[in-house]
Symmetry: C2
């Protein structure tokens, strides 16, 4: 085999970046801290990771992360920044998602040769596409199941309060949201199978409402039931949702992990709504962890259909440019033809309301997304129906190139949303 996989990093080091990159390549393929007898030239030739290129960036005086060693002992140390790409022969690991993670993101972030390391992107050979089925529904399958024509995003919301509602109270809220014209509803990630709202009872109560509404109106609202839990329960809960006519399940990616997720995907007959709660601990410091562009590819390979990307003007610390970069990554192919591209539907949420539709469409240039608003719908001063209407109005106006201020003069629900949340 001659296929290789590639990972690009931003790094900072008190050493020459070439020396730091070489240490990374050694640590993650054939090396240890002293030469060992078995590391023959043949093994090195066949299996060593390769430094593909190094692009130096500006150096700085103070390192972002503690614990780096090396560099000049006499002068004040300088910390050199660079973009680096490494590659590995696929023969080292085979097309394994788990060994891939140990290889590209294992014992690297602790290296004392580094004072900063961020995985920016990965490129995988087609063998990975052959080994992992990827998203089963993606954008088109989700639109079909949700019955939303391709002229607007799916408009969604979250069950709030996150915890405390009984199955009956959840179903009552779902009824109100169905009547309001919603396309998509999700459980909160804090709500899975807790004692006050058991999973099976919640599915039964919620699906009775959704099915009754579908029979009456022809529109089956998509509800993402949070199945995150032990694997047996996740598979059973998936089957329960399917048996009740449900059309989506939700998983908290970091609480589940890749192995459980892939096992669920191989069993699933429903789209998997992937929630990234905890993402902040992987990304909040810019000199450590993961860019979303790299990280989301791992989960698309594992089979996610919807990936959370935060929202524009959100309540968290992430800026808008980063949110849009994430969403565009979700909509971009991760394999070249003839392999499928494994595109997934980005989910915009956190502090969303009608007004944030405008910058979202302007920056993304696509309507293939789930636009999820919590308070922006249920706390609309005229109720959830007006909340949903305001968001539909906002997207129609944004797609038509109108400005929020002008559209608000046309649509009363949008005007009231601006008054409440603007």
């Amino acid at each position: 085999m001659s296929e290789r996989l590639f990972a690009s990093y931003w790094l900072e080091t008190p050493l020459d970046p070439a020396a730091a990159a070489a240490a990374m390549a050694g640590e993650q393929s054939t090396g240890t801290f002293v030469a060992v007898p078995g590391e023959t030239p043949e093994i090195h030739e066949r299996h060593a990771a390769r430094v593909e290129h190094i692009r130096p960036l500006a150096a700085v005086d103070a390192p972002p992360l503690p614990g780096a060693r090396g560099g000049s002992a006499t002068e004040r140390p300088r910390y050199n920044r660079a973009e680096v790409e490494l590659s590995w022969p696929i023969e080292n690991l085979g097309p394994s998602l788990t060994t891939l993670m140990a290889t590209i993101a294992g014992n690297l972030f602790e290296l004392s040769q580094l004072s900063g390391l961020r995985l920016r992107d990965i490129r995988l050979p087609p063998a990975f596409a052959a080994a992992y089925p990827g998203p089963q529904f993606g954008v088109a399958g989700t639109r079909r199941l949700a019955g939303v024509e391709e002229d607007r995003p799916l408009i969604g919301t979250i069950i709030k309060p996150s915890v405390g509602l009984s199955p009956a109270a959840t179903a009552a809220l779902v009824r109100e949201l169905c009547e309001a014209g919603i396309d998509f509803i999700k459980d909160d990630e804090l709500q899975a199978d807790g004692p006050h709202c058991p999973f099976d009872a919640r599915v039964e109560a919620v699906m009775a409402v959704i099915n009754e509404h579908a029979e009456r109106t022809g529109k089956k609202v998509m509800f993402a039931f949070n199945v995150t839990g032990e694997l047996d329960a996740m598979l059973r809960h998936h089957d329960t949702v399917l048996a009740h006519g449900g059309t989506c399940i939700m998983v908290s990616l970091l609480a589940c992990g890749p192995v459980g997720f892939v096992a669920l995907r191989r069993h699933a007959a429903l789209p998997i709504h992937a929630h990234r709660n905890g993402w902040g601990y992987l990304s909040r410091h810019p000199a450590l962890g993961f860019d979303y562009v790299a990280w989301q590819k791992l989960w698309r390979l594992a089979g996610a259909d919807h990936m959370h990307v935060n929202g524009m003007v959100n309540k968290f610390s992430e800026d808008d440019a980063s949110v849009i970069r994430s969403a565009k990554a979700c909509l971009s192919p991760m394999f070249a033809p003839p392999a499928r591209g494994y595109e997934v539907m980005p989910v915009f949420s956190s502090g969303q309301w009608a007004g944030t539709a405008f910058p979202t469409f302007a920056a993304l240039g696509s309507i293939d997304l789930i636009f999820a608003a919590g308070g922006g719908i249920v706390a609309h001063p005229d109720g959830p129906r007006a909340g949903v209407a305001s968001i539909r109005q906002a997207w129609a106006a944004a797609q038509a190139g109108e400005r929020l201020e002008d559209a608000a003069r046309t649509y009363p629900e949008l005007a009231r949303a601006v008054a409440a949340f603007g």
Copy 2:
């Protein structure tokens, strides 16, 4: 139910720490960014997370993490640091490891009210011990299977080079290590089931050597085979190791994730050696992510038997005090009687050799550990047998209160190790 679970954090905020802690409690229980109709006083009373206490620390001028908002608009902002403890009623989630993770470490690290957040420790009610079986072997079971009496640590090593050896070449190295008197050997985390060293062939070749050695000498060396992969393969590989008389399996925790790990644990009849590769991205910045004291409890609950803690004077960026804090945490009970304590065996590795036994014993005050040396054994100038001998000598001397320099005068293998690695 009135049981609560507790999580303690170090935080930094441009706000009053009490306001930041309240935002955390709201985000992770009943709140959203605007009040919603369903958040009744009854739900708040029963389900809201509680701020248990706040201990202010010194404030600073510059925040460690970007993206924080709030604080004074006119004066230069100050960033207030504090230790905070939150608690939740178990009724919010039930004794679920995955919902626990979404609750204590979900959408928190991105909050714009914070400029730093670190999960320091957790305390779980006994309901979790009833729901999860925890370590199946721990310290005593591992000693029994490895045949190492309780007068010294297990002395271990890692197959190196990490990648490139065929099953036959791996087995040849294992034969040399068995002859050298090793107690424990592990696969490298980069080696799982790659095309040049398939899992089944490796187990067959390695266990033939280990079994032959055991029949001849009465000592069965413990080999931790890296089963990390898809769940079906992990279970099958576990069974293969068991069928060949093997006594341990290894899992890369972050590549596997909690759900796959618990599923494996519930199936397993062998100790699970838990590898923490990738831990750096969760911990390298002191103002973000996890203290190991908190993190290792999640994996002990999930059923790990051995937990990697890095090593003293290691090749990574972590300092010795942190390593010892981690190891002591592994050996400390995480539940009070009558529940079991779920103690696990800490694994010291990374740059270890005979000399590092002395500071390790001095700081830890225990011999209940796996002391794993790669180059420190196989690169000993007189070969692996001398490498293992030097480490046994070092531990005997350290336990007897001798100093390295004095012991090196007694033991020639130790003296040669000092000359090579000291």
